[in-house]
Symmetry: C2
Subunit: 508 residues, 2 copies
């Protein structure tokens, strides 16, 4: 197995097994679009639920669902119409367009060329004599290209609209509703999960740069005069690997190994709320199965930060092929957005203190790309054991919980297996019945689907009403009474039992 | 309470409590777009999960997630580019556009004017001297308007794309992947939940006609030579109210009161698969709390049916203000779609029989508008009791499961209540802690949020470690030990206990 093409390997399995594949295959494909199959859709939904578990349910934060299409005025006020642009260079020969900064990064050792600005990009293209990567043709001078999808709303006399490139404006434009539903008490937060669209000029690297993807976002509103986070204690001892802005500027190679508490105290993290969410973020990414040595937090440099941010830390996960990938950004957006919309709409976007003074709340935003979380979860869970592909997915994320199969397809074993399968369905479990091929093939399929438990029905099942349970990770087996099965498995999938506790161990 | 404006009443509560409200309020609004608040987002997600429970998990059907934006070629092949149009009439004075058929329906007793065609629509507008409903101006001749949102994908030299107006093309263009994942065995099904966009000319009636909404759709692929549904037995005795095409043509007033089995036998329903899904559909809508006497199935007339359909039955729910509303369509799409995409793409879209012959599968499609399901669920659950607004939502759909409050805000009761609240959160329950206003206000808020159980912490809690549980529907109360609470409530929310079983009844 050559590690340099792990992405391709996983993508090949993903296509075959129905995790994901490139969209519009029968029409020759269209880059930047992906389709999730049955296993992928379920895994993605389970990751989404885990995000909710970490970021909203326990805290009692609000969740909303706002439209994907927004009238132009929203993005004028937010600054996107002015700022959501990239330098695009068109080939004079084949007519294709490319992101100028990516062309430069591909040809040089430079990183983060985007942040260098238009003048530098133009000069670097010339300096390195960069040509069209497809046909070798001459490139035109790069021009700024608005990377939002544009459309018209309504028939004649309608108005211009854009697909949102992030979900955050939904929380800001609805801030006042959230404020009322939180009974005019800060801090409160509004979360949103939703599709976003970015008209990337030349998307590449498959799952990590899509034109259509899903965001999990949360806006925490607080009073800058009262910036305490009441839950900081719950994560204060989380040890994180941190690259501060200063460390990046001075080229420090090794990250700080520091607790959240210390990082806030020492001023590396500007607000307690960022500290809290970065701690929760590490717990969340841990829960997806990503080891701590493949996680780090990296500050944005001043020139790299979005137009609204005073400090942003990316939570990055290390991929085998491509190195560090941003899966999340935790941004201190200050009062930029509420002030922008107050100006744009003329509506009041403030909050009231008990002493009667009014203020514009400040905002901290932890934001996740769900498709990237999906991919890093899948890649990190993958192991090859001999000829076997195994996705060691955390048990509450596994698309299918239980495989059920008869040892052989005769002597009433399939009928008995179907009966047990039905009992598991009745218990609310995601169980998959399989009688295709040999029992070995069935185990192999089960492992490739990341299914934690396989239940085999054999001759003893008929005689003694017991079944064999096999653990995906250790391949060990236990024997259990059929009548105990639903309850035991329900416990197991709530992390209230470990595999050996599900029955009597068998010699393998 | 005047029944003629129940929609407005519910919408007022919905805004105040955070079920839903019109989008872009601070910018003056934009018709056809709605934002779901915290309660709405949770209720909507619970309805979606109930759909999955009824239509995919138990059957082992596949679910996918395909893109919202599609290249033009997809909708050319599907027929949408040609057919997804409405007659639009523009006012010569104010420039606004309106759906011509709706203008006629508003001014006459005519129904389903859309199906009459362009010539009839033009004549009826003249005949009834219909003017602009906004300014009274003269209307231009109506013209066909493509009601898909259009955009450009990529920078210069990019291609035209459209937002999907339904999710079905995702299943058809990915049919071959589904076929492989179903191991080349029919019947199999692919389901999809997703956002869709329709550029409605003049949307009205709020939640029931949106420009951006969510669809729950399923495509069942079967061999027309083997059209049996193995699960028909499970729903054969469901009694439905049925208006067949013939009954509509002859103007029969009363629907057939008939079982699914008989309706299929007598040929009123063309395929067993439609029969099966219509039976499941009634069980699903029952589960949302809609009484049977507010449900019916109505056939589409030939001229009303979409370009792909041989027979469609709408599942309709009766609203108080607006009469019967389509929440679902169950369409027999034949082999139209797969043949269209085979022609459009040049790729094989057939299946193989055991005897070696190839065929194009036929398709039956049950399709739901989730936003409409949401609204009918909310409206049907609403009752007013004195001054109290109560949403009697089914317990597995309720956005918040449990309210927790101290009887008074002193003597350690809030601390004790927070402790119990945390125990319920730890048990994975959606619990909401409330110490605002009087205990009466807290009960009122709990009822308005549709929360099934309220837990009150009082002086006996401190002394005897018991709490009062109150049922939202009957307002009866029981007393329970704190230590039993999490387990009892988990049982209750799995429909494994009824309210009185949660403790010792109290006199009210």
């Amino acid at each position: 197995m050559a590690p340099e093409n792990l992405y391709d390997q996983i993508t090949a399995i993903a296509k075959r097994r129905g995790y994901y594949w490139p969209s519009f295959e029968i029409y020759g494909g269209l880059s930047g679009f992906v389709t999730y199959g049955d296993l992928g859709t379920k895994l993605k939904r389970n990751i989404e639920e885990s995000w909710r578990e970490h970021f909203t349910r326990r805290q009692g934060f609000l969740e909303i669902e706002a439209p994907l299409i927004n009238p132009e005025i929203v993005f004028k006020a937010s600054g996107h119409l002015e700022n959501f642009k990239e330098y695009s260079a068109e080939c004079t020969k084949c007519g294709r367009s490319f992101r100028a900064d990516h062309l430069i990064e591909d040809k040089t050792d430079l990183e983060n060329v985007e942040a260098m600005g238009g003048e530098a990009i133009r000069n670097l293209l010339k300096e390195h004599k960069i040509k069209c990567p497809r046909c070798g043709g001459q490139l035109q001078e790069p021009v700024l290209f608005l990377t939002m999808f544009k459309t018209e709303i309504g028939a004649t006399g309608g108005e211009t609209g854009y697909a949102r490139p992030e979900t955050a404006q939904g929380m800001f434009t609805n801030y006042k509703r959230g404020y009322l539903h939180a009974r005019e008490k800060l801090p409160f937060a509004i979360a949103q999960k939703g599709k976003v669209l970015r008209n990337e000029i030349s998307p590449r690297r498959g799952m990590t740069r899509l034109r259509e993807f899903t965001i999990l976002e949360l806006e925490l509103f607080f009073d800058p005069q009262n910036p305490k986070c009441p839950w900081l204690n719950e994560v204060k001892n989380e040890k994180i690997k941190l690259y501060t802005e200063k460390m990046l500027e001075t080229g420090t190679a090794e990250p700080l190994d520091i607790t959240i508490e210390e990082a806030v105290k020492q001023g590396h993290i500007l607000t307690e709320w960022q500290g809290y969410f970065m701690g929760v973020s590490q717990q969340f990414i841990d829960h997806l199965g990503i080891p701590k040595d493949r996680q780090r937090f990296r500050a944005h440099l001043t020139e790299e930060r979005a137009h609204y941010s005073d400090q942003t830390y990316d939570h990055e996960v290390k991929l085998t092929d491509w190195g560090w990938l941003e899966v999340s950004g935790c941004a201190y957006r200050t009062d930029f957005d509420l002030k922008s919309h107050q100006e744009g709409s003329g509506k009041d976007m403030t909050a009231l203190r008990e002493d009667g003074t009014r203020y514009t709340p400040h905002v901290v935003e932890p934001s996740y790309g769900l498709d990237r979380l999906f991919y890093v979860t899948l890649e990190n869970s993958y192991k090859r054991n001999g000829k076997r592909n195994i996705f060691h997915l955390p048990r509450d994320l596994a698309p299918i919980q239980i495989s059920v199969f008869p040892l052989v397809n005769r002597d009433y074993l399939p009928e008995k297996a179907k009966e047990i399968h039905k009992q598991l369905l009745d218990a609310g479990l995601y169980a998959f019945y399989d009688q295709g091929g040999s029992v070995g093939r069935r185990y192999a399929r089960s492992d490739e689907a990341g299914t934690p438990i396989a239940v085999t029905i054999d001759y003893e099942t008929i005689e003694e009403n017991t079944v064999t349970l096999r653990d995906r990770d250790s391949w060990t087996q236990v024997r259990t009474k059929v009548k105990d099965l639903p309850e035991l498995l329900q416990k197991y999938f709530k992390y209230k039992a470990e595999f050996p506790e599900l029955g009597t161990p068998l010699e393998n």
